[in-house]
């Protein structure tokens, strides 16, 4: 049996008989991280096809596939690749952003540790298309296991002639290295990541110049998420049309959705873009274990959505979630239980952003790291006074869109959305000092 060719009717459900998981097809299989397994399952065919097509055709293929960056911003990947200058005589770099630090996201860790060759192939394809000679996989420092698997896979690939000089007789030279981070969320920002890779403090850089013009070491550089490179592998292997046949009109392809919080089966599910929250939460994750009040749709920085029928029926794609007032982000869906105080939940996230602020610009360093976190701590400890919520809102206005990079805005996602959706909880806490939902035991005994 072969999978039916894509029909004009969009595939927006993981249950669609035409939908086949590809990025995660091998995750969890026995010895899936070895080159032998990967080759035995059609590995490096996409790369061969890329070599046969030529670099420009590869970029066209990726453009045609409609692939958009899976790291959160959703920028069209093919377009991004085409920004790299051609024949400028300078070395080009590509970097895989595996600094997966957004609370709620955990897809890349499994891709790195269970299917590293898929990423290597994707980076080879990207490197070939963008005339890069060196690639770095920037893995966050805590992912030790993933980094080790990645290193081992690179060694294997190098030994097999898949990295190095004249790869597969194509005349293409490419080296790939792992660079481990050391615990900084800001490294997920591409220019901060480049600073970190250069051995500097991971402060974001000024843009322009954009990385495609002057990135790592001042040379043309492109940074993509792990999932993006892996998707490129699949696109080159199965064709742009196959990829473009999945998902919705503007959000094409499949996406790794992660779900965490009180659900029966938390984890990673590969589903076409446009799958509804309802399908993910109920059909795949087995439904919530307790009453839920909010959904964080794509990692902690995406504004929360209210748990209601309309939200559940929202398709998970870039446009529909944006229309609902949030972002697809990394696809890390988190459910917030009804019984937890929303101020406490938000405080946890604010504390996270305060801890991760790089300290470069004033609104983030002082506003988030200094003031916002104190305001929340005060509220949560029952010391709030009426007017505190207004103060937070006014402060947010002075932070939002004023900071150097998006981290401060990311913090405002949960803050503003939680105040908008659950103002009552804030007001009760600020006025009475008592949360509407008192703290409870959460730790499981066994």
């Amino acid at each position: 049996m072969t999978v039916a060719d894509p029909a004009p009717l969009a595939i927006t459900s993981g249950k669609d008989p035409r939908f086949a998981p590809s990025l995660y097809a091998h995750v969890g299989q026995d010895r899936s991280w070895t080159l032998d397994y990967f080759r035995g399952h059609g590995g490096y065919q996409g790369l061969r096809r890329a070599f046969a097509m030529g670099p420009d055709a590869v970029i066209d293929e990726v453009k045609k596939s409609g692939l958009r960056g899976r790291g959160g911003a959703g920028f069209p990947t093919g377009l991004k690749w085409s920004f790299m200058p051609l024949n400028d005589g300078k070395p080009h770099f590509i970097i895989c952003n595996a600094d997966e630090s957004e609370p709620g996201s955990f897809k890349d860790r499994y891709l790195l540790s269970e299917d590293p060759h898929q990423l290597i192939e994707g980076m080879l394809i990207g490197g070939y298309a963008m005339r890069a000679s060196v690639g770095y996989v920037y893995i966050r420092g805590e992912y030790v296991h993933a980094a080790e698997r990645m290193w081992a896979a690179i060694e294997e690939a190098r030994a097999a002639g898949l990295l190095g000089q004249n790869i597969l007789g194509s005349g293409f030279d490419f080296q790939l290295y792992v660079h481990r981070g050391a615990g900084a969320y800001i490294c997920g920002e591409e220019t901060a990541l480049m600073n970190s890779l250069e051995g500097l403090r991971a402060n974001p850089r000024l843009k322009p110049p954009f990385p495609a013009a002057a990135g790592l070491y001042g040379l043309p550089t492109t940074i993509n998420n792990v999932e993006t490179f892996c998707a490129a592998t699949q696109i080159l292997k199965y064709g742009a049309d196959w990829h473009a046949g999945m998902g919705t009109e503007k959000s094409k392809g499949m996406k790794l959705f992660q779900i965490s919080g009180p659900v029966a089966r938390p984890g990673v599910y590969e589903l076409p873009l446009g799958t509804t929250f309802r399908e993910l939460i109920y059909d795949w994750a087995g439904g919530p274990l307790e009453p839920i009040k909010a959904i964080i749709p794509g990692g902690s920085s995406c504004p929360m959505l209210r748990w209601d029928e309309a939200t559940l029926d929202t398709p998970m794609d870039y446009e529909a979630i944006a229309a609902a007032g949030s972002m697809l982000g990394t696809g890390g869906v988190t459910l917030v239980p009804q019984a937890d105080c929303i101020v406490d939940v938000t405080w946890n996230l604010v504390r996270f952003y305060a801890h991760e602020s790089c300290g470069k610009c004033t609104p983030c360093r002082e506003g988030i790291s200094g003031w916002m976190v104190n305001m929340y701590a005060k509220l949560v400890r029952g010391r709030g006074v009426p007017g505190d919520v207004e103060l937070i809102l006014d402060m947010s206005e002075n932070i939002g869109g004023r900071s150097f990079c998006a981290l401060a805005d990311a913090c405002l996602g949960p803050v503003l959305s939680s105040i908008k959706l659950f103002r009552e909880e804030y007001d009760v806490l600020a006025q009475t000092g008592q949360p509407m939902h008192p703290p409870r035991r959460r730790w499981k005994e066994a």
Partner: protein
């Protein structure tokens, strides 16, 4: 004593990953810090100066970079450095209680090392294992996931006996051997990519290989 004096090969390997330029040398800073920390548990000032000399920069810059990242330590850590994720998903799964339990059971405060030199604890932000919360990372090694109270006690006992358990790396197997995913009800739905043959090799318009 000079830490890297007898590790020329390792140092050369690290430098070989980056361009042979002053900027490229600088890139080796983080891997070298990681080497020292893995071996000694923390990075002392003497090591910072040593790394600075290797990377062609100053100790100030090394300290600056080092202090920026949260996983480098300037103070000695215990044999088992327990890092408890405290961000939302783990917090919702009870990591605050887990933390309190650890701190009282091990009798150690963050920044300190327990009297027997075994334990140090650190609250860290999201470790990227939200589906298997709560999570504890021990040393610069693997994760211990779904840490319930009883699992936590077992872990502590094992470390007290100096037989640390191997880290869990539970892989959420969402795609079955036949390449299809299974819904919560156990129903296998959708198709399998295994059944889809790869595309034929295209011929290049230009003709150059």
């Amino acid at each position: 004593m000079n830490y890297f004096a007898d590790k020329q090969l390792l140092v050369a390997d690290i430098f070989s990953r980056y361009p042979d330029s002053p900027q490229g040398r600088r890139s080796a800073l983080m891997p070298l810090l990681r080497e020292v920390q893995d071996a000694e548990g923390f990075v002392s000032e003497a090591r910072m100066a040593e790394i600075a000399a290797l990377c062609g920069t100053t100790a100030t810059e090394v300290r600056s970079v080092m202090s920026f990242y949260s996983t480098y330590h300037t103070l000695p850590t215990g044999r088992y450095h327990l890092q408890v994720c405290s961000t939302l998903m783990c917090s919702l799964a009870g990591s605050d209680e887990l933390w309190d339990h650890l701190v009282s059971a091990l009798d150690v405060q963050p920044g300190d090392v327990s009297a027997d030199g075994r334990f140090s604890v650190q609250k860290v932000e999201c470790l990227g294992s939200c589906g298997t919360a709560p999570v504890v990372q021990i040393n610069d090694e693997g994760y211990y996931e779904n840490v319930t109270r009883s699992k936590c006690d077992r872990l502590i006992a094992a470390m007290r006996a100096d037989i640390p358990p191997l880290p869990d790396n539970p892989v959420p197997v969402t795609v079955r051997e036949d390449g299809r995913q299974m819904t919560a009800t156990g129903e296998r739905v959708g198709a399998s990519i295994h059944d889809r043959g790869p595309l034929p090799m295209p011929t290049r318009p230009g003709g150059e290989a």
